[in-house]
Amino acid sequence: MAGFDKVVSSYEEAMAGLTDNMTVIAGGFGLCGIPENLIAEIKRKGTKGLTLVSNNCGVDDFGLGVLLPDRQIKKIVASYVGENAEFERQMMAGELDVELTPQGTLAEKMRAGGAGIPAFYTATGVGTPVAEGKDERKFNGRDYILEESIVGDFAIVKAWKADRYGNLVFRKTARNFNPLAATAGKITVVEVEEIVEPGELDPDQIHTAGIYVDRLIQGTFEKRIEQRTVRPSNTQGEK
């Protein structure tokens, strides 16, 4: 690596420095836009006691779910954890600490963390279990709770394309939490489908600027689909 070139040559190098008990923020929604090879590398490394921050926890044998059997995750901060039997078992048995967090609050925690904002007020969760132990304050007659932002020791991100400087372009709804996670890692590692030379991406079309990215690697992806839903090919469908 030299100058702004963020490209690393192996997944081992991409996740170097990840040690037990660190906090990892992961992009992705369900199995869409997850950094699947970076997750696989964490499994291979066998790092334990991790706090994972991610909207979901994958399924039993794909995505973050693969870190469950070896008990690599100590705590997870997520908004939705259905569709994962081992997850539910560990949670009910008290083996896994789960902090259920509203999806918008989770996104904003990452965004704020990356922007140097330590906390923010939101109406989401007022009067619910989410508000327990949090500061409450009224603005213009309405109640809000104070939510603290999140910064990760590592952020793992999946983008579609990048240039060698780490400027990122995402594709369709695989964007989701990825740009937010990218801003909130002390070390942000990104895997992409294609790496091009600096200058080849249109600066107006870049979603995440390279300043947030520390390491970049090109991978191949399974892109598993969770709910394959189709209409017959000879119809226009409803609307």
Binding site: C32, E88, Q103, K239
Partner: protein, 218 residues
């Protein structure tokens, strides 16, 4: 006759207006998309970062990078846009979505809603539901009026952990269309063939019935 899931969706669709941006939750709310009146333009918001959700793809159109909030493969409608999750919830929390339709386990006379967990039994998480009920002004909850065993889900006080406090004003069940105001349920419409008495019997929270209650029309 109690309403079928499709009929609940059909009745909700009558609340749509031309030019509405609408967020539909998972389950019955998703079906509402099938009953948007002809000639009306409605843009569906999917909280994973898509405004302008289209129909399901054909086998050839399937794209693993394009899903909805229920993780189903979808397509994009003409004029769609894509954004990240913080932006998506900025739309929701900022009150920019015109109508939100979502399911629930329980609602009560004070507009409280419980929809995300049953302690010791079912813990899946709130997803975007807490943001939606806190951020939206115009919300319709779709649910069954009572459990299979006849236990009311329209209560004087929710018993399950809340998703939101004091935020629900309209509920459409398989028996009735109900408005919540001033700490009471108000019966607006009943399902065809369902009597007012039947609805009263299955509504645990205080229900106000004023005058003749019309049947829903489809």
């Amino acid at each position: 006759m109690t309403l079928l899931r499709e009929q609940i969706a059909q009745r909700v669709a009558q609340e749509m207006q031309d030019g509405y941006y609408v967020n539909l939750g998972i389950g019955i709310p998703t079906l509402v998309a099938n009953y948007i009146p002809d000639g009306m333009e409605v843009m569906l918001q999917s909280e994973n970062g898509l405004l302008g959700m289209g129909q399901f793809p054909t086998e050839e159109e399937i794209d693993a990078d394009l899903i909805n909030a229920g993780k189903q493969t979808v397509t994009m409608a003409k004029g769609a846009s894509i954004f990240d999750s913080a932006e998506s919830f900025a739309m929701i929390r900022g009150g920019h979505v015109d109508l939100t339709v979502l399911g629930a386990f329980e609602v009560d006379v004070n507009g409280n809603i419980a929809s995300y967990m049953i302690p010791g039994k079912l813990i899946k998480g709130m997803g975007g539901a807490m943001d939606l009920v806190a951020g939206a002004d115009n919300i319709i909850v779709t649910m069954t009026h009572a459990s299979k065993h006849g236990v009311s889900k329209l209560l004087s006080n929710c018993t399950l952990p809340l998703t939101g406090k004091g935020c629900i004003k309209k509920v459409l069940t398989d028996l009735a269309f109900i408005e919540i105001k001033a700490g009471k349920f108000h019966l607006l419409e009943r399902a065809p063939g369902v009597s007012v008495e039947e609805i009263i019997k299955l509504t645990e929270g205080e229900l106000v019935v004023t005058g003749n209650i019309p049947e829903m029309t489809f």
